[in-house]
Structure formats: C-alpha cells, structure tokens
C-alpha cells in the first residue's frame, strides 16, 4: 500500500475513468446534438425523398460527427467500468457487477455503433436509391432509440444492487432513480410502432420527456460517482461520508459542546 502511495494519488485510476466518462459524454453530446444533429431526431414521418434530402443536406456533419464516434466511442467503456466498480464496492454479490459490465458492453454495438454505421453509409452516397436511403434512415434512428433491453435490465441490476447495498456507496434515492430510467426504456417502445405523434421516435413523450429523464439521470450518476471516488477508502465496509461535510459537522458539534 505504501509502495503505491508514494507515486501520486491511489485513486488515480478511478479519477482517470471519471474524467474519461466526462469527456465521453461531452463528445457524445457534441456529436449527436451539434455535429450530426441526429438529436433531437429528424421526423419519423419523412418519406423516401425527404429522407434522401435529409442525408444530402447533413452530408458533412453526419460523416465528421460519426467518424469522431468511431474514433472515440470506446471511451464509453470507462463509465461502464466505473459503474461496475461502484457495484463491486457494494455489499452485494459480484454477479450484479458482472451482469452490469456485460449488459453495457453489449449495448455499445446496437445502442451506439449501429446508428453510426447506418448514417455513415447513408451520407456516403447521397445519390443512392431513395428507398434504400429511407431504410438506412429508419435503421439509424430506430436502432439508437429502440435499443431498450440492455439499458432496461442494466438499470434494474444497478438499482437492485444499490437498494441491497449496506456500504452506502450510492444513495438509495438514486436506486429509485434507476427505476425511473428503466421506465423510460418502456416508454420509448412505441417508437417501433408509430411514425407520428407524442410516442414516435421524436415525439414529446418518447423523446423529449425521456431525454430529460435520461439527461438528469446521467448528470446525477456522474456527480455521484465523483462523490464515490472522493469517499473511497479502499476497504470493504461502509464508505465514509464526503470529507467536506465532516469538519462542518464536527465544528457544529464543538460549537454545541461549548454552548452547553
């Protein structure tokens, strides 16, 4: 232990993962919301010609954006690894941690890579047969929004681990927030059935409200993982509270003592 401590922070692996997670979600947001503008998604009711025009119009943005995803998409593993570690730190079976790791490693292909492939192939040849462009358009958006099971079951696994944990790694209310996130995967399912309205892939409910929940969930878990790293003591028992709180409490206790 001491042999390690002399060279920098013992938490540096965790911090590297955390910063990589932060970078990944920022790149992800820039690619999907700014460069490719595939989020918010284009209308599902577009016909073949409109979809073809959409590809032609977004040509460069789609290609550059998804090329960045092809180059940096692997960084998504850092958040999976960090979350797997959070579960591993809990007083629950390792089965939970490994399930989460596998589910989210698997999710990378249908949930992220397929939209990059479909949109790249579509943007590559804007003069392709419109019927085929239309199919690529559907394929891209639906594979991205409609990859549900891995995230649904993954969130439930994380939830169960948090609620069973006695080491207080993550707060219990966040366990319940996982349930809210899992439910968004249920709410998005009509996107496979309807091509217009609030439940379609760009609909008010299936996209906007879901994305608000997902965005909050992501922001919250990134913050909570940061707190977890700060609190980490590399033991196996309950994690201590956040350090800054302790002096304040102690100071308050001292004040109370003096007053009495």
């Amino acid at each position: 232990m001491k042999r390690l401590a002399w060279r920098g922070d013992p938490k540096r692996e965790l911090w590297l993962m955390w910063y990589a997670t932060l970078i990944f979600y920022n790149v992800f947001t820039v690619v999907f919301f700014v460069l490719t503008r595939t989020q918010p998604p284009a209308p599902p009711w577009y016909d073949a010609d409109q979809a073809t025009a959409w590809f032609a119009h977004r040509h460069q943005g789609l290609l550059v954006g998804f090329a960045l995803m092809f180059a940096l998409g692997g960084l998504s593993m850092t958040s999976t690894a960090l979350i797997t570690y959070s579960i591993r730190r809990m007083s629950v079976s390792r089965a939970f941690a490994y399930s989460y790791l596998i589910l989210y490693a698997v999710s990378a292909v249908p949930g992220l890579l397929l939209i990059c492939l479909a949109m790249t192939v579509g943007a590559m040849r804007p003069d392709r047969d419109p019927a085929i462009q239309h199919w690529l358009y559907d394929f891209g958006f639906l594979s991205f929004s409609g990859t549900m099971g891995v995230f649904l079951v993954g969130s439930l696994i994380w939830m169960a681990a948090i609620l069973l944990d006695k080491n207080r790694v993550l707060p219990r209310w966040f366990g319940y927030l996982n349930l809210c996130n899992a439910l968004t995967e249920v709410v998005v399912s009509p996107a496979w059935i309807l091509d217009r309205g609030a439940f379609s892939w760009n609909g008010t409910i299936a996209w906007w409200i879901n994305v608000a929940v997902f965005g909050m969930y992501t922001g919250v878990f990134i913050t909570l993982l940061r707190n977890m790293i700060i609190r980490e003591d590399f033991g196996t028992g309950p994690l201590p509270d956040l350090p800054p709180r302790k002096p304040r409490q102690r100071a308050a206790a001292e004040v109370a003592e003096v007053a009495s």
Binding site: P171, R172, W173, F174, G175, Y176, L177, L179, C180, L183, V186, V187, P190, I193, L194, G197, A198, F199, T204, I205, I209, A212, V213
Partner: protein
C-alpha cells in the same frame, strides 16, 4: 440497523419527517413530475382535437373504470391498515392486510384485462387513433407500475413474515409506493374516463 430499533421502540420516540424512506419520497416526487408532463402533453393534444378525443372516449366503459378505481382505492385503504397494524406489532393481522391489498390489486388487474380485451375486440388498439394511443399508453405504463407494486408488496410481506426482519421503515416505504400507484391511477382515471 437503525430500522430494527424503531420496530421495538414506539415510533413516536424517533421523529421522522416522512413515513418510510426519504429516497422513496424522492421517487414519488420524480415520478409525479414525469407523469405531470405526460398529462400536460395529453391535455395539449386533446385540446387540439377535442371532438375526436371525445368521440373515441365514448367507447370507454365508465363503469369498468369506476370499479377499477374502487378496487385500487380499497387496496390503498388496506395497505394503510397494514402499516397501522404493523406499527402496533400485530404482524399476523398486517400480513392479512398485505394479502388483502394484493387481492384488490389483482381485482384491478383483472378488470383492466377485461377492459383491454373488450376494446381490442371492438377494434380499438394502440394504433387506432390519438385517444387510444394515450389510453393504452397510460393504462399500460400504470400497469407496469402496478406490477412493480406487487414486487413491493412481496418485499413488505417478506418483512412482516419473520420476527427477525419486520423493519417498519421498509413496510412504510413499500406502502408509499403502493399509494403512489393508486394516486397515479386516480389522475389517469380522471383524465381518460371522466374529463369531458
């Protein structure tokens, strides 16, 4: 740990701000916000196509809705009774109340299934028009919540079953969840069946 102490000691001695776990109340608040936004979307689209919504709404059987609501409200009463009886330590009675709650929940589920079957038989499915999209969405997402509620009741019963567990906090947390499911139904019922 602290929860098992609260069981043996009268609850008045440990003043808690909310019954059950505060994390569950966070969930209730968050889900309420999410559902409020769903309702907002529904009301907005309903205002746009009021005539069509009213026409489709007339296909619903108000009495089935009323019966379901009564079943769920009764289940809320029985789960509240369950918390009360558990609080005073009459655990066998509390277990009976939990079973009663699950029973009323099952009645609701049966009524819901009958209603869905009738609607589908009449040709009203998820893809037949705006109103039925919302009808099936709201009833289905509520049904998912209800099914999770049965899991919560299972946890509750598990707590009550053995003297080694019996955490009043967990009992109250599960009951809070069940009340939420009921509360959401009342809103859905009002919006889908009653609002004209």
């Amino acid at each position: 740990m602290t929860t098992t102490q609260t069981v043996t000691a009268p609850t008045e001695k440990t003043p808690r701000r909310v019954p059950g776990e505060s994390g569950m109340w966070f969930f209730v608040l968050f889900e309420s916000l999410v559902f409020t936004s769903y309702f907002g979307v529904y009301l907005y689209y309903r205002a746009q196509h009021e005539a069509a919504f009213l026409r489709a709404q007339s296909h619903l059987d108000l009495w089935l809705g009323v019966l379901g609501t009564i079943a769920l409200l009764t289940s809320s009463w029985s789960v509240a009774r369950c918390v009360q009886t558990a609080r005073v330590g009459r655990y066998r009675l509390a277990l009976r109340d939990a079973a009663l709650t699950a029973g009323f929940g099952a009645v609701f589920l049966t009524l819901k299934s009958i209603e869905w079957a009738r609607q589908i038989h009449m040709g009203n499915t998820f893809t037949s028009g705006d109103f039925f999209q919302y009808y099936f969405f709201f009833t289905a997402i509520h049904c998912v919540h209800l099914l999770i509620g049965f899991v919560a009741l299972g946890v509750l019963a598990y707590q009550l079953a053995s003297p080694r567990r019996r955490s009043q906090e967990i009992v109250e947390t599960c009951a809070t969840y069940w009340h939420t499911v009921d509360f959401l139904w009342v809103l859905i019922f009002a919006l889908l069946y009653v609002a004209r």
